[in-house]
Subunit: 297 residues, 4 copies
Amino acid sequence: MNRPLRGIVGYPITPFTDRGSVDDRLLGDIVEGMVKAGVHAIAPLGSAGVMPYLTDSEREAVAETVLERVAGRVPTLVGVSSLTTERTAYFARHAEKLGASSVMIIPMSYWKLTEKEVFGHFDAVAKAISIPIVVYNNPATAGIDLSPDLIAKLLQIPNITMVKESTGDVNRMQRFVQLCGEDVAFYNGSNPLALAAFMAGARGWCTAAAQVIPKLNIELFDAVERGDLKSARKSFYRQLPFLQFIVAHGLPRSISAALELMGTRVGPLRAPLLPLDREKVDELRRILVDLEVLPRA
Amino acid sequence: MNRPLRGIVGYPITPFTDRGSVDDRLLGDIVEGMVKAGVHAIAPLGSAGVMPYLTDSEREAVAETVLERVAGRVPTLVGVSSLTTERTAYFARHAEKLGASSVMIIPMSYWKLTEKEVFGHFDAVAKAISIPIVVYNNPATAGIDLSPDLIAKLLQIPNITMVKESTGDVNRMQRFVQLCGEDVAFYNGSNPLALAAFMAGARGWCTAAAQVIPKLNIELFDAVERGDLKSARKSFYRQLPFLQFIVAHGLPRSISAALELMGTRVGPLRAPLLPLDREKVDELRRILVDLEVLPRA
Amino acid sequence: MNRPLRGIVGYPITPFTDRGSVDDRLLGDIVEGMVKAGVHAIAPLGSAGVMPYLTDSEREAVAETVLERVAGRVPTLVGVSSLTTERTAYFARHAEKLGASSVMIIPMSYWKLTEKEVFGHFDAVAKAISIPIVVYNNPATAGIDLSPDLIAKLLQIPNITMVKESTGDVNRMQRFVQLCGEDVAFYNGSNPLALAAFMAGARGWCTAAAQVIPKLNIELFDAVERGDLKSARKSFYRQLPFLQFIVAHGLPRSISAALELMGTRVGPLRAPLLPLDREKVDELRRILVDLEVLPRA
Amino acid sequence: MNRPLRGIVGYPITPFTDRGSVDDRLLGDIVEGMVKAGVHAIAPLGSAGVMPYLTDSEREAVAETVLERVAGRVPTLVGVSSLTTERTAYFARHAEKLGASSVMIIPMSYWKLTEKEVFGHFDAVAKAISIPIVVYNNPATAGIDLSPDLIAKLLQIPNITMVKESTGDVNRMQRFVQLCGEDVAFYNGSNPLALAAFMAGARGWCTAAAQVIPKLNIELFDAVERGDLKSARKSFYRQLPFLQFIVAHGLPRSISAALELMGTRVGPLRAPLLPLDREKVDELRRILVDLEVLPRA
């Protein structure tokens, strides 16, 4: 990763077998599909990958499976978050040993962390490894919101070099550019803001959609890259219903259902998560038919 | 207004004399400045124009002054909102008689209106006039939020043909395009989202900034029009600090202070509104110096 | 008002004739009903009285009608709020001339007022009159929230002596007591918190319910006064469904419907406000039957 | 627990040794102190006990230590929450085996759970054990909010018999009483609402304050029990500053600091949590001096 990462960062779900264990083979196939489709980076153990619902050994196994399958063809960003600093550093070191390009950390919280605690947490993990860290801000799942100013401060720690912003607030993204300069490596994690974020200067788009509609995701990125505003807008509005759907119904539920509709047997979600209701699956099918991902019945 | 309005819609403040009455002459000059600078439409009696703080006769006089000065050179959108339906219809008819191109209505509320009440309010006013109506949504000032679905419904009333959206939520704008088609006439009223809104498909940008930095506002619009993404982004980030400032400190206070800094004696605000604090004025001066609106000291 | 006001403060609606003008006679009867029932004070031109929807001359006429009818039998709190300081002072002076015991002011806002502007607004009006002022905080209708600290500061202005708090946040009320001492004259305006507010130390309960169920309102107050916790709780839970209903559906709509159900011809609401839907009226009837205000069909 | 639990439920923190392992001996002493002081029940592994920051084996050890020390003298409520249903059921069975009176479950979430998922989660755990379950609602830490209607539905599962409500919304508590009858076993977890909650009908108060000021907590409960409103209010306002402090700064940080001030060497918090800042400790000392928990210097 000497050159800064740009483009589509694909987030695989973690599929399970009928007996409830991680389905390594299918996970590898999902990753392979994204790499072959031209996705620019792979990020296992994200929110889509239900990382917090996995045991410690499952987390390690998922990282191994994905890194092995990617085999250095594209950069990898491995999720290593944990409530405690000690466990976060542990998983970060494990990912580094496996050859991850970088690790991604969301400051999970039960007790709201103070700014000092957040800084201490990132600083301690940063010192435990040599590879770059992506600061991931997503108050909806983490229960804590990192201000642009705090993120700018975290970016001064030597190996904290990237930000993934999922608040869905364009003003936030614009603040990063103002605070850190237009070369700040920020990545958008809010699917329905994909176009607006690229306009604001995002280098990349972190999305679980990439395991279902990678061509469309890449098409949008490419249109922005060559400054073709009209094509970018057209591509964006085309895929927007799918992006809105997966955000409204949760990535693990929605992406699993989409893969099932496309013929991949994904297996059950981990309880308490339940599969999408039948009527929602029908709605999703119509969206995928419109996108020509599924054939018209 | 046979051709749909596109571009920069300038919102003049309402300046007062030292004795507290509306300064008609200065108001006319401010409007003249915007028209001469190439602003595409003029909207008197908006939030910037402190419409709710004016007496009924002052409101009528402001509309007359502005329409007379514009003299048909560009379209006009006259604010006619009132808490009661009867007064709103009254001001709408008055604006129509004066020759306004259209009227703009925000559903002011003290008691939260039901959807049925909002619809009835707009419908009654629409029936009272023949010129087009702009639905204006701004929960921060109105105390009521119109959902994209309700706005889509209002747009089915024959002479309700435009929407001004000021929630600052890009997802809202995208919903309009999805609900009403890409030809929907929606205008952005959230200054710091000017770029994102144009990308989402906004036809215009409603802004009080146009009486201070009209050239920059028009430059951004023009760059988007010719699909020059790079210039659009550059122009946007250049003017963003000014846009953020006027939103953070309120349009009447901020624009008045900017005009004073540029040499125009604006007069007092109407109480309880107070002028900007000295330190905020200094901050504003620095922003205007950076924009080369003011000379470096 | 040498002795501090305690108890139930009744808020009459403003009834209209079929032709849309204020129904003075009925307004007087509603007020008379409350005074006869033992309500401890009367507050015309509150939110229930749709004060912001009235013309200036209607506001003056309503104040006159109510003060004349009360005729000094109980204290009066007259609503005199306006967006501008000048008009607020005007109505305050008018109320004082008519013999009001005190005036009530909510800092209405279109542009969010700064703390300095709020203070200046109250201070200017306080200087214009000699009778006491009640600071009324209700962000849901005013669009601006007064912090307990700001209210404590306002209470240092000599003739600002009371607070009506309608945020529905018990913590706020407890803050007043902590900031200003247990003798602070705070009144609760959140109907479903009537019991909790009295426990926190509220001196009174401002309620439009008093024109429908005055006996129940007074019964609750009396139980708290004599420290009879069990009776207070019982009385409170009995009237709670009615209190929840009028808050959920808006005071003018709900109270008008209740009076109609009880046989009083109230007349239309002022547009854009519409009467309660039929099914809501049925729900209200059932609640009033349970309270034995209406006979079981 | 044939008779329903009433009164003060004490929540011990989980103290650590300097080497970062759980300090079993001190934990036992803290529990002993509460039981001796007359606290009516003990709840290990709550939010105060930093349950989510403990490893699985630490959680089991804490439950064992506390249950052993309580030795049946008062009822126990053991926290057994986990993100997955499987682990929650595991810890619930473990607590039952150890002899816990009941278990307490907060529906932790990373992905927002649907109502169906929440119900399935509780139902599955309820079927795995025979002892009663307390539904714990605290959106601030759980990231998910259980509506009163959903909680009423959960209370229909046979061994789900109690609710702990920590939203700090009195209206919520009143809804429980309305939905489930005045005999509903609801417990308040919002410290600054202790008085309001008892008035609304709460059977008990779940508080970490009980390991610092048990006498004051019990004094308030007793005053309410004997219907002595005046003493209840006096006792409540006396302890309110301490309650506000521990809520504002987080229970683990605040309670640890309080115990240290009182002479108990508590040990470090588990990272990323940090001890209270020095100035906050000084503020806490002043509060404890005012409560005569600490001697005036």
